[in-house]
Amino acid sequence: MTVESTAARKPRRSSSKRASSAAAKPPQSSEPQLVQLLTPEGERVRHPDYDVELTHDELRGLYRDMVLTRRFDAEATSLQRQGELGLWASLLGQEAAQIGSGRATREDDYVFPTYREHGVAWCRGVDPANLLGMFRGVNHGGWDPNTNNFHLYTIVIGSQTLHATGYAMGVAKDGADSAVVAYFGDGASSQGDVMEAFNFAAVYNAPVVFFCQNNQWAISEPTEKQMRVPLYRRAEGFGFPGVRVDGNDVLACLAVTKDALERARRGEGPTLVEAFTYRMGAHTTSDDPSKYRNDDERVAWEAKDPILRLRRYLEAEGAADQAYFDELEAESEAMGKRVREAVRAMPDPDVMAIFEHTHADGHALVDEERAEFAAYQASFAEEAK
């Protein structure tokens, strides 16, 4: 049956009456097949369309990325508990989705994250300590987006997908063969901006990969409150492909994202990748998931842990020995320590920073207020004398 002929085909009628069917069907009822290259047990499986050939070195590299990212994330969570950060949004459980997709990008690609892409930031070479500034409250994003082609975190959900699309339109205009990745969550997928981005990307055939980490939750809302059918299917209605990948399988995430990026580079336009994963922790350190979700679910997902499965594979392959793991453990600890120290040493901004960088070309009112504020501050210094 071709897609065209479905147009003229009557929607199938269900025999149910409204009373019984008024509630949305749970979208995950008939679980679509995920692209998977590594089973939860660490077994390497083949897929007809996607594959990656990696050396042991490269496999260990992915493993190291995930381990260090998780360690960094844990450190940040504990820094928040110690009062060093105001908030932290943990990526626990999403390491494979982030490292797989992040490592698929090339240096000249450009990445637009949400607020949880610490693993992607790591892949792009952003100093982890730099990510903590906004969570500590010393800035709204401490890095130069152009240094690593990694945009600032965007908190208003979905907005960045349009920026990514526009950026990709610019890439295409420039005739460059780089591509753009826009990250967003299952919850964000409901925003009009995200769908407008899908449409702009399709119409302009922009070289952008929409990478959704479907971690099953948007704070307290499970995906069935967000959408009626699996998200990857949405792409097709805009005229580009959607793929669902096992988001806890770093190899599959790498393969699928690489493929999508190559499509983009070849001028074949956008792809939607839905990485099916799970938010193992709370939404942020301010959140308490016990209010709304059953811990059984989380426990079940523990068996699918992204790091564990790659470790099993590395061990089975003989690609890493205990010495390697011990060394990595030590590197992790050192990294944690370095981050901890960096955060503790992070100075509060000078109060005059309130008035800095509001405009590139200045603004008379800001200048006036800056001067008033400085005089006001000085008056206290005077009094204190």
């Binding site: 208003v156 959900i157 409901s190 307290s220 809302e221």
Partner: protein, 326 residues
């Protein structure tokens, strides 16, 4: 129950519960308002008692939330919409200013839009970007909307009752950093009209006008000034659209000095309108120009700077001194 002490968040929760009990058409809609009870727990327990049909966790799309709330209102429901934080209301801004605000007039009064939009607003909670803004002027300037904000638990309770009962769309700004401040609520009281200002403290030397989170700061400033022998009157505005200018005018014609305080940027903030209009009304009574204390014309700064950014006791007293020095 009658009088009891409770935090503002609880007072709103009780008020929502009461409205839902009284009228089956009242619905709660928003992100995480269900099982979680909202990120500030303002709707805590309502989902458990009223179920999915009346306490609706929506997809994460503010325009969709307000747009469908309008449709529900057209069908006879009375939706109370929660916007999770001030900075997230803007995706819904078009539906609010273009549809919600204008549809009653467009229909020559033939349809009513009893929609309440609850927005926790303001800073002081050490949050990341977009979680500390005070966008009330952006709504108050828009014809067709009414904009209110309580500063204490009793007003939180009663103003929410009145907002839900009103047949007009109302933007209900909740002072998030005061959510846990406790004060008395008398559920048997007869409340003042929704859009009437309240004299929060009497005084004779200067009038301070504030609303929401700044009322507390102004009351503290008045107490501090008292010790220096200055008697400040504090007006809790309660409504930013319409503004009860009569109450302000009466106060100012007594004190002859006016300082308006809000967290929102001063430039084109509600203080601008109060200054302009009171100056016009009481030109010959004022001994000093109306002074304004508020946010600066900068994006809301990172948390470690917000104490300096937000109007505090010192800045209010500084303005008081400057006014009285005229």
């Amino acid at each position: 129950m009658a009088a009891s002490k409770m935090p503002i968040a609880k007072a709103i929760n009780e008020s929502l519960r009461k409205a839902m009990e009284n009228d089956p058409k009242v619905l709660i809609m928003g992100e995480d308002v269900g099982r979680l009870g909202g990120v500030f727990r303002v709707t805590d327990g309502l989902h458990k008692d009223f179920g999915d049909g009346r306490v609706i966790d929506t997809p994460l799309a503010e325009s969709g939330i307000v747009g469908t709330a309008i449709g529900l209102a057209l069908r006879g429901y009375r939706p109370v919409v929660e916007i999770q934080f001030d900075g997230f209301v803007f995706p819904a801004y078009d539906q609010i200013v273009t549809q919600l605000a204008k549809m009653h007039a467009r229909a020559l009064g033939k349809i009513k839009l009893p929609v309440v939009i609850r927005i926790p607003y303001g800073g002081g909670i050490g949050a990341v970007e977009h979680h500390s803004e005070s966008p009330e002027a952006l709504f108050a300037h828009v014809a067709g909307l009414k904009v209110v904000s309580p500063s204490n638990s009793s007003d939180a309770y009663w103003m929410m009752q009145q907002a839900i009962q009103s047949d007009d769309p109302i933007i209900f700004f909740e002072p998030k950093r005061r959510y846990w401040d406790k004060s008395d609520v008398d559920t048997d009281a007869i409340p003042a009209p929704l859009h009437k200002a309240r004299i929060a403290r009497e005084g004779s030397d200067l009038t301070l006008v504030a609303y929401g989170p700044m009322v507390k700061v102004c009351l503290e400033a008045a107490a501090a000034a008292q010790e220096e022998g200055k008697s400040l009157e504090v007006v809790d505005l309660r409504s930013m659209s319409p503004i009860d200018f009569d109450t302000i005018q009466t106060s100012v014609e007594k004190t002859r000095h006016l300082v308006v305080v809000h967290e929102a940027p001063v430039f084109l903030g509600t203080g601008a309108e109060i200054a302009a209009r009171i100056t016009e009304r009481s030109f010959y009574h004022l001994e000093a120009p109306v002074l304004r204390v508020g946010g600066y014309h900068t994006p809301y700064p990172p948390a470690r700077l917000e104490e300096e950014y937000l109007p505090g006791l010192d800045r209010v007293l500084d303005a008081v001194d400057r006014s009285l020095a005229y």
